[in-house]
Symmetry: C2
Subunit: 184 residues, 2 copies
């Protein structure tokens, strides 16, 4: 399995459908790093073009991988080591290409059902288990901007619960998606 | 489906295996309420015996169901309305009994595999789909205290990812468990 995860802070929408760079939520870094460790994700890309937000993410990573946190909680250290802070989705894809020798297939996630390039969980799982390098991306705030969506090879089906309510946090949505795609 | 969720703040363990009452994490209230709405949970019990922590949870609930938040985000309102703040697990079970006419089956969750009363996801799903009233409980901090575990009818299998790493946040663990037990 050569699965990578990206958490995109730019470009995403705010509540009023304006394109913004969202702030880092440090708790999301912990939750997604721990999920990444659980589901054998190779690297977890924290994507933001803002220098001060990159510094914040790096500082959190260092605290838990080299600083006081590394000794305080060794399990957390293992998870936080998977974090890579990069300025753009393109940079994340390039980094994966350098490592894997092929550009990753880009699978975006969205809370709405897409008409084109929609991918079922079953089909996505087959692609991943087939050994293709895949970058699975999640948007923060009100979701990934449409140009990013346009660049994706596939857009994963939204999470269907029992009620049609589709307003999960990115943390819990990522948990469900990773369990469906990479759980045993 | 008559499924209820409980988030237990006492009695739970701290890092040093001492029994404590953990602090409310307001973000967990949001995440579990949104999951509850997604997976058609009847009520989401926030369990703590500490008066100031009960007040905090009630204040968060009211902000989003009656206060400014109710108008600001109507989707969140629908989710936060599922929150019930109670002082103990016993009180949660009694409340469900009053509503359902039967005591709920108590299913506890744990990050470690149990020797006794262990329940697979498949078996748990069958019980829930069979229509039995069920209270599914999650521990905060370092997990549910052993007396609470002793009272449970069943203990759900731990989440198995791909690596054996079992250190998820309660938010993301609850997401995975609810998707496995109540997802379509």
């Amino acid at each position: 399995m050569r699965l990578y995860v990206g958490l995109v802070h730019y470009p995403v929408y705010n509540k009023n459908a304006q394109v913004i760079a969202s702030a880092i939520t440090t708790l999301d870094l912990h939750d997604l790093a721990r999920l990444s460790k659980t589901y054998d994700i190779k690297e977890f890309y924290v994507i933001t073009p803002l220098a001060n937000q990159q510094s914040l993410a790096e500082r959190v990573r260092r605290h838990w991988t080299e600083g006081y946190g590394a000794g305080y909680n060794r399990d957390r250290k293992e998870a936080m080591e998977l974090i890579r802070v990069v300025e753009s989705l393109t940079r994340a894809a390039t980094s994966i290409k350098e490592r894997e020798g092929e550009s990753p297939l880009l699978i975006a996630t969205d809370a709405s059902k897409q008409k084109e390039r929609s991918l079922s969980y079953e089909a996505a799982r087959k692609i991943i288990e087939g050994g293709r390098a895949v970058l699975l991306v999640f948007g923060t705030a009100w979701g990934l901007e449409k140009e990013v969506m346009g660049k994706a090879d596939y857009i994963l089906e939204p999470i269907c619960g029992r009620t049609g309510y589709r307003h999960l946090s990115v943390r819990t949505a990522a948990a469900i998606v990773l369990d469906r795609l990479a759980g045993r």
